[in-house]
Subunit: 277 residues, 2 copies
């Protein structure tokens, strides 16, 4: 596996790789969620390129950029074991050079849900993903359904900005107890981890109700709210039942929806979601 | 020469072209300025791709999008005669599909000069150029110095957004009487054309003064102002003496500068510039 830092080094390595090239962008501290993307890329593409970069512009000043978990040596071992051809680990000097002043923004689909609570987050995400796409020029790029709104935003950006890149969104990977895998799970102590199971359990209860004929958006949201609020250590930020493509909040009977939520467990902010219908 | 409309058609043609690929984006109604870019691309690159698209998002509602001159059959003959390999002529359905909501913006260098008088112009320019870059994935792209601020903005965007594309800025092409070539020159009648010569003549007078030791920014601007205002049919919008990279307006003695101006001649808005030092 080649390890590159600068865009010039990256381009030299890419010139030798056969197409189609599959690209897996990550912020590092890899877990089985990331590895499922890498494996899917390996199945679908002749070459696999990953990136590791904790992007400062998608964290607000009061968020956890400084403490976001990092372990690049371990990440490299994991990527190499899966046969990744090249890993790009840029520095912030490479990504945000002196005088930096350019941004990629997506309007409507970044407004609700995560965007409403993290107003500068998606500008950081769309800018860094554009930059990664521009430098890597992949044929396919792989993202996790865990960040459901991000997947919608990246699909919209890719179409709008004429990228000839197929966006592949892979299913959420969960611990055996149901907790959605996240690099931030490392922040949780044992009690908090137990309380955090209410996210996936609330979603599964809503899914079961939907499959048994409950189609009312308010009722579906309430099932999730009740389960999360049954825990002492949780602080619910939002539960949404939204259109899976536009992310507009739904009312009344629904055929298809994205149920998503954000919950603080202690200082740790967790998200999870399920697609219904 | 291949003529393509959709991104899928474009990508199929591009896969057969040898690298390096040189790209010349245009709004059509081609003149010798455009052709100088095409020829330079032909000298420097193994393949040349041009695009023709009058981009609506870089025109304000009160500007000349509806009347902007168009002659695609003539443009195609001119490009083919120079050995261009492929021309991409997208429709607005291809460029701005239903639900379009993504933008590329560059902050500081879009604020003065043209940006101050045309506040939505550069967002349109940077967005469409990004889209063209994303779809074509060229090795080099060719722009004219005629749009001096645009060249600065595109260089900044290309560096900031990690495009592995070399930006080549080619000299202004002029009529034999000095008028900078522009598709908009077609709007001018004979008297207006004569009055429009005051732009290039004012700039040449400032250049001569600079070469004879006049280094004061205010004095250099005044030389241009005086020449333009000596005409009855001209209405000066601005004359600037700015830093060539940051575009910050300069005062006092200058070593290097971009002198640029915008002038209405009748309803036609003309720009021109010269780099000194």
């Amino acid at each position: 596996m080649k390890h590159v830092t600068t865009i010039k080094e990256l381009r030299a390595v890419l010139e030798e790789l056969p197409h189609p090239i599959g690209f897996v962008p990550t912020m590092g501290f890899l877990h089985e969620g990331h590895m499922s993307l890498v494996r899917r890329a390996g199945v679908e593409c002749a070459s696999v390129v990953a990136s590791i970069y904790a992007n400062p512009t998608q964290f607000a000043p009061d968020e956890d950029f400084a403490t976001y978990p990092r372990d690049i040596p371990r990440d490299k071992v994991m990527l190499e074991a899966e046969g990744v051809d090249a890993v790009w680990i840029p520095t912030t000097e490479v990504m945000y050079p002196a005088g930096y002043q350019s941004w990629v923004t997506v309007e409507d689909v970044t407004q609700p849900l995560e965007g409403a609570r993290r107003p500068t987050h998606f500008r950081g995400v769309t800018t860094i993903v554009s930059k990664l796409f521009n430098a890597v020029r992949p044929d396919k790029a792989f993202f996790g359904q865990k960040d459901a709104q991000q997947a919608v935003v990246i699909r919209r950006m890719t179409q709008d900005l004429s990228y000839p890149i197929e966006i592949v969104v892979c299913p959420i990977m969960r611990e055996s107890d149901g907790l959605a895998m996240s690099s931030r799970n490392t922040y949780l102590n044992t009690e908090q981890h137990q309380a955090a199971l209410s996210l996936s359990q609330g979603l599964m209860q809503a899914q079961a109700a939907f499959e048994n004929g409950e189609g009312d958006a308010t009722s579906l949201r309430q099932i999730v709210i009740n389960r999360v609020n049954a825990e002492n250590l949780t602080s619910l930020q939002y539960v949404s039942c939204a259109h899976p493509d536009t992310l507009e909040e739904l009312e009344g009977d629904v055929d298809r929806c994205l149920i998503s939520l954000a919950v603080f467990v202690g200082k740790t902010r967790l998200i999870d979601n399920v697609l219904l219908g």
